[in-house]
Amino acid sequence: MTPVLSVEDLSVGMTGRDGKLVPVLENLSFTVDKGRTIALVGESGCGKSMTALAIMRLLPEGFVVTSGRILLEGENVLTARNRRMRALRGNAVSMVFQEPMTALNPLYTVGDQIAEALYHHRNLSRGDAAEQAVQFLKAVQIPAAEQRAKAYPHQMSGGMRQRVMIAMAIACKPKLLIADEPTTALDVTVQAQIFDLLAKLQDETETAIVLITHDLGAVAELADDIAVLYAGRCIETGPAQGVAASPRHPYTRGLLACVPHLAVGRPKPPAWIDLGEIPGMVPALGSRGPDCAFLTRCASASEVCRSRPQPPLGTIDVAHAVSCWRAREIAA
C-alpha cells in the first residue's frame, strides 16, 4: 500500500544575505501510513515547521527545496502545478497552526470560516456548508455549536479556537493532517484535551497525522513513530514507544530528561531529581559543518565524534535508527 505521505531525502536551503544557499533541512526521509501518526520532535530552529511548510509547498520567500521528493499518495507535491496544489491544500492535506489566537480571521464568524473550505473544495451550497460546519464544531466537542458557529474568534478562548482550527482542518476529510505545535499556546489541561481530540478524530477518519512538537514526552502516546530533528538533520527515528523508552541519541535523551515524568500510582522517587537541561543553543543556520551538529553540546562526545563527520542514520533495532557514533555504547 502506498503510504499517505512519503518524504524522501528532502533538503531545503535558504538563500542567505550574500546569496549563498544555506542548508536548513538535510536529507530528511520519513513516511506516514493511513491512520498513523508521526511526531517530528526537536527544539526551535531544527527545521520542523520548515518540513511542514515544504509539504504544503508554502515555504517562505527565500527558501527552496534543493533535493528530494515529497509524495502525497504517490503524487509528487514538489512538481505539481499551482492549481493542483491549491486543490490539494485544505482538501487532501491540511494544517493546524500553532497560534490559535492569530490563525483565525477576525472578521468572519467561525462557522463561516469552516464552511468556506467546504464550499470551495466540496462544491457544497452555502447553506449545506454552513450546516456541515456546525456538525464539525460538534465533532470537535464545542458546546452549543449552533450558537458558537455565529461567534467571532475574539469571543472564544484559546482552546476553543484551536478546536475551531482543527474543525477547519478536518472539514474536507484530508488524507494528511499537519499539526504544527497545536498545543504550544494552550495551557496543560487543554493540551491533553486537544491531543485526545486528535486521537479520537484520527480513529474515526483514518487521517494520517504529522505532529510537530518539542515536547517529546507528550507525544509518546499519540504518535506511532517519532523522528527527532536536530539542526535540520534527523538524528533518531523509530517507533514512538521504542524511542521514548530507550532513546539512544544523547540529544533525544536530553529532551526526555528535560520534562518531569509523573505517573499515577508510582511511589514518589526517594530523592528529588533535578530536571535535566541541554546546555547551549542549536547552531545557527550557516554555521553547520559536516561534523555532528550536536557535538558542542553533547556530554557524551568523544574523540571518535570529533574526528569524523556526522554518521548517517544507522539501524540499531527494528525500525529504530540513530545518527550517533556512540549509540551502541550509550545504549549499553
Binding site: 504544503m56 508554502l58 520567500e61 491549491r86 486543490a87 490539494l88 491544500r89 485544505g90 482538501n91 491540511s94 494544517m95 497552526f97 500553532q98 497560534e99 492569530t102 490563525a103 483565525l104 480571521n105 477576525p106 472578521l107 464568524t109 468556506e116 473550505a117 470551495h120 473544495h121 456538525q135 464539525f136 460538534k138 465533532a139 458546546p143 452549543a144 455549536a145 449552533e146 450558537q147 458558537r148 455565529k150 461567534a151 467571532y152 475574539h154 469571543q155 482550527m165 477547519m168 476529510k173 480513529d203 474515526e204 477518519t205 483514518e206
Partner: protein, 318 residues
C-alpha cells in the same frame, strides 16, 4: 471510504444530545447556560455602534446628510437657474435675492443650491477614483512584493513628485475644463496616498497567521486579496476615503478659483473663482460659497474622524 463517511456522521448523534440539552436550557432559564454565548456582533455593526457614540462624528454625519439633502432636493424647492441673470449685478442680499447677486447679476442662493450638486458629485466621484486606483495599486504592490512592488512604487513615486495642483491644472488645461475631466484629474493626482496606505496595510497583514492559514486551506491569490486581506485592511482605507472627499472638494474649489472650473456648470468653487475680483464690492458672492465649502469639508472631516475612532483597533477597547 464509506466508513469514513459514516464515522464522521457519528458526532451528529452525539451532538444532537448536546443540542437538546442546550434547547432545554435555553428558553426560560438563562442562568442554566454554561457559558453565555455573547450576542455575535459583526465587526461592521460594532464599529457603527461605536461611531454613534462619538458626538462630533454624529454632528458631522448630520451636517453632511443635511448638505446632501439640500443639494438633492434644494433645486426642486428653489427652481431658479443659477446661470440666469435675475437682477442687477452686485445687488446686496434683499427680498428679491436672499443672498444677493454676483458680478453678472445671478442669484447667489441659486448658485449655492445648484452648485452644491456639482461640487459634492465631483468630491464623491473623485474620491472614488482616488480609492479605486490607490487601493488596487497598493493591494497588488503590498501583496505580491518583489518586482511588482518595485514597479508600482516607482510609478506612484512619479505621481508623488509632481505638485498635485499644478499637475491637475495641466490635465484640465489639456483636456478642457469640463466637470468629468476635472473629476478625473483630481482622482489622478491624489491616489498615491491611498496606495501607500493600502500597501502598508497589505504588507503588515500578508505575513499574519490567518493569511497563512487561508493559504494552507487552499485559497488562491485573488481570494486572499479580496476576501481575506482587503476586508482586514478596510478600516484605515474607509477613513482615508472619507477624508479624500473633503480633499477633492477643496481641490475642485482650488481649480475653479484659478479659473479652471467648468463655466457651464455652476459649482461652489466656480462661484468663488468668478467673483474673487469683486470681493470688496460684493462680499456675499464669495463668502457664502466659501462658507458652504468650509461646512462640507468640515462635515466630511468630522465623519472621517468619527469613523477613525470607531474602527481603529488601537483606540477602541474590546
Amino acid at each position: 471510504m464509506s466508513t469514513v463517511e459514516q464515522t464522521l456522521i457519528v458526532p451528529r448523534t452525539e451532538a444532537s444530545n448536546v443540542k437538546t440539552a442546550a434547547n432545554a436550557a435555553a428558553p426560560g432559564t438563562t442562568t442554566m447556560r454554561v457559558q453565555p454565548v455573547a450576542r455575535a456582533l459583526s465587526p461592521a455593526r460594532a464599529a457603527l455602534r461605536q461611531f454613534l457614540r462619538s458626538p462630533s462624528g454624529v454632528a458631522g454625519a448630520i451636517l453632511l446628510l443635511a448638505l446632501i439633502l439640500a443639494t438633492i432636493f434644494g433645486p426642486m424647492l428653489y427652481p431658479i437657474d443659477p446661470l440666469e441673470i435675475v437682477g442687477l449685478p452686485f445687488s446686496p442680499p434683499d427680498a428679491d435675492a436672499l443672498l444677493g447677486t454676483d458680478y453678472l447679476g445671478r442669484d447667489v442662493l441659486a448658485g449655492l443650491i445648484h452648485g452644491g450638486r456639482a461640487t459634492m458629485t465631483v468630491g464623491a466621484v473623485a474620491a472614488l477614483i482616488t480609492i479605486v486606483i490607490g487601493v488596487s495599486v497598493g493591494a497588488l504592490s503590498g501583496f505580491f512584493g518583489g518586482w511588482i512592488d518595485s514597479l508600482l512604487v516607482k510609478i506612484s513615486e512619479f505621481f508623488q513628485v509632481l505638485p498635485p495642483l499644478l499637475f491637475a491644472m495641466v490635465l484640465v488645461t489639456l483636456f478642457g475644463p469640463r466637470l468629468t475631466t476635472i473629476t478625473i484629474a483630481i482622482g489622478a493626482v491624489s491616489w498615491t496616498s491611498a496606495a501607500r496606505l493600502t500597501r502598508a496595510e497589505f504588507m503588515r497583514l500578508r505575513d499574519l497567521d490567518f493569511i497563512k492559514a487561508s493559504r494552507a486551506a487552499g485559497a488562491g491569490n485573488w481570494h486572499l486579496i479580496m476576501r481575506v486581506v482587503l476586508p482586514n485592511a478596510l478600516p484605515p482605507i474607509i477613513v482615508s476615503a472619507t477624508l479624500a472627499i473633503g480633499v477633492a472638494i477643496l481641490f475642485e474649489g482650488g481649480l475653479s478659483f484659478l479659473g479652471l472650473g467648468d463655466p457651464n456648470t455652476m459649482s461652489w468653487g466656480l462661484m468663488i473663482g468668478q467673483n474673487r475680483n469683486y470681493v470688496l464690492d460684493a462680499w456675499w458672492a464669495v463668502t457664502f460659497p466659501g462658507a458652504a465649502i468650509f461646512l462640507a469639508v468640515l462635515a466630511v472631516s468630522l465623519v472621517g474622524d468619527g469613523i477613525n475612532d470607531a474602527v481603529n483597533p488601537r483606540l477602541r477597547r474590546r
